[in-house]
């Protein structure tokens, strides 16, 4: 009896959990005057989506976010895999110390170092620039940690074969380790893309120029400008959320693998 009851409960709870999201999608497709009505719209409209895409520089916001998210993801994967390769595979003085140093930065989150980070970025001339949005977002210990764990489990023999062929360290990293770590890189790329597409606080702090506005800033800015035009705000929110949901659905398994590793596995 229990066996039948629990799955049903799980399904019901799952529907409740996604209901707010579903509600917003449906409401974004309603005409302005019906936006607060319950349930199915009496008439569907794409007007809200059209309006935010054409009358508000939503495509520009999305382009900015895409540039930032993709650049950060690619560069971060490159740097982190290099660092992880050294930490997992090479012997050198200070390895333990450097590793614990990198790991200890895991405790630090953006809201904590926001103010001094802003001062550093200012000194480096990064205010109000793509570089300012991109460069500080690249460095995070979690990716290094995850890739290192992965590299520790790649059999040494594979690398030794390359060594015998006379490959230097760079070739061993580039042609042996990197291709073997595709699953881990794929997991991290999903994670990094989502984190950067969804980033709000850092872009808010470092950019003033409207041309540099990223999607989350653009959407939150609708609050003030279109205070009670909920049909438009929701349309913008849905547009901002679509890429994340698509990436999630496409990379679900990969994302779950990476997330589980945060549980110190």
């Amino acid at each position: 009896m229990r066996i039948k009851f629990l799955p049903i409960l799980a399904h019901v709870l799952a529907i409740i959990a996604v209901l707010p999201l579903l509600w917003i999608v449906i409401s974004a497709l309603k005409p302005a005057e019906d936006v607060f009505d319950f349930g199915w719209p009496s008439s569907w409209t794409l007007g809200n989506l059209q309006y935010v895409l054409l009358k508000i520089p939503m495509p520009r916001f999305m382009l900015n976010s895409a540039i930032v998210s993709i650049t950060v993801t690619v560069v971060a994967l490159f740097f982190h895999s290099m660092a992880a390769y050294a930490l997992a595979r090479l012997r050198f003085p200070g390895r333990g110390l450097i590793f614990s140093g990198i790991m200890s930065t895991l405790l630090v989150s953006l809201p904590v170092i926001l103010v001094p980070l802003f001062l550093v970025a200012k000194q480096l001339g990064l205010l109000d620039s793509y570089a300012g949005l991109i460069v500080p977002s690249i460095f995070h210990a979690f990716g290094i940690f995850l890739l290192r764990q992965y590299y520790l489990n790649i059999p040494r023999e594979l690398e030794e074969a390359a060594d015998l062929d006379g490959c230097g360290y760079w070739r061993r990293y580039w042609s042996v380790i990197l291709p073997l770590s595709r699953p881990a890189l794929a997991s991290l790329s999903v994670l990094f893309f989502l984190a950067n597409w969804n980033a709000f606080l850092w872009p808010l702090t470092i950019t003033r120029n409207p041309d540099l506005r990223v999607i989350q800033l653009g959407v939150s800015g609708m609050q003030g400008q279109y205070a009670s035009a909920w049909n438009l705000i929701l349309a913008a929110a849905v547009i901002a959320a679509i890429p994340t949901v698509v990436v999630f659905v496409a990379g679900q398994r990969r994302l779950v693998d990476a997330m589980k590793t945060t549980g110190l596995k």
Binding site: A10, A86, V115, I144, F200, L234, V245, F248, Q252, G263
Partner: protein
């Protein structure tokens, strides 16, 4: 050049980009906070040494006190609720059943959407009187309740939304931990006549302690300093009404970028870091690093 030296040089070269980056954008800011805290910094970036005056300022700062209270209440409500909810969800979706993939994805989905969008979603659902929740509660006579506009309710609302946002992530962490609980142990207990509660209490729960510990530490740090403590309140309530949802990190942001008190904000940053180090240390001390299974 010996092989050993070549290897070491290669290693440093591989490490250089990330090491320099972390140094510049994490370590130096951390250290810098402790330096800037002794200065008064105006909007034009002029620094003036003022000794401990930023710290003295804190004692008379009622808004800081209010923010510390908000963060404290948020931590002691959010952490246990999120723990119980996500643990329960993990137990619920632990064993295979038809459609389990969709159910797990559904619980996780809110975590994929940005906190800005989450804030807007709930603002819309909680609009006074006309919002979905007010209409839903109207038959119970609760249609006039303003969940985000009443100081005594806003913080609780923020907690509930945070739990909805983060439960799927914590559920995944618990699921990963549950994978390490050997089935044979549970089966053996069942054969010995242990009830499902006893199996949970005496088999699963002790074996899950390291995971539970990780979740509690992680979720406490997140509640104090995570993006959930900034993005969500910034969009949802801007810290209001009557500063009822003004978290410490939001207050620091306001001091720095609304009032241009960068020195004071840096001093506040150092206090948050100190509290955090203290709390984590305390938790590790009390629980011996989560290794309770040795007692």
């Amino acid at each position: 050049m010996t092989r050993k030296r070549r290897e070491a040089l290669a290693a440093y070269a591989f490490l250089a980009p990330d090491a320099l980056g972390l140094l510049t954008f994490v370590v130096i800011p951390m250290v810098l906070a402790f330096g800037v805290a002794f200065f008064k910094v105006d909007g034009f970036g002029n620094y003036q040494y003022t000794g401990l005056s930023n710290y003295k300022l804190m004692f008379g700062d009622d808004q800081l006190l209010a923010s510390l209270k908000v963060t404290a209440v948020y931590v002691v409500t959010f952490v246990p609720i999120a723990f119980v909810v996500s643990f329960a969800l993990a137990m619920l979706v632990r064993n295979h059943f038809k459609g389990i993939g969709w159910v797990r994805a559904a619980f996780f989905l809110p975590n994929v959407v940005s906190l800005v969008v989450v804030g807007l979603i709930w603002q819309f659902l909680l609009v006074d009187k006309r919002g979905a929740l007010s209409k839903l509660l109207a038959p119970l006579g609760l249609g006039d309740v303003s969940f985000l506009g009443t100081p005594s309710l806003a913080l609780g609302t923020y907690v509930v939304i945070s739990v909805w946002f983060l439960m799927g992530y914590q559920m995944l962490v618990f699921l990963a931990g549950l994978k390490d609980v050997p089935r044979e142990l549970e089966d053996a207990a069942a054969i010995d006549g242990a009830s499902s509660w006893q199996r949970f209490r005496f088999v699963i729960w002790p074996l899950l302690r390291p995971t539970s510990f990780f979740v509690v530490v992680n979720s406490t740090i997140g509640a104090v300093t995570g993006l959930q403590a900034f993005d969500l309140v910034f969009v949802l309530t801007k810290g209001g009404p009557a500063r009822a949802t003004s978290t410490v990190v939001l207050y620091i942001y306001e001091q720095a970028f609304t009032f241009n008190n960068l020195g004071y904000a840096a001093a506040l940053t150092t206090v948050v870091v100190a509290i955090l180090v203290l709390c984590t240390g305390l938790m590790f001390g009390v629980t011996r690093g989560g290794r309770f299974d040795e007692d």
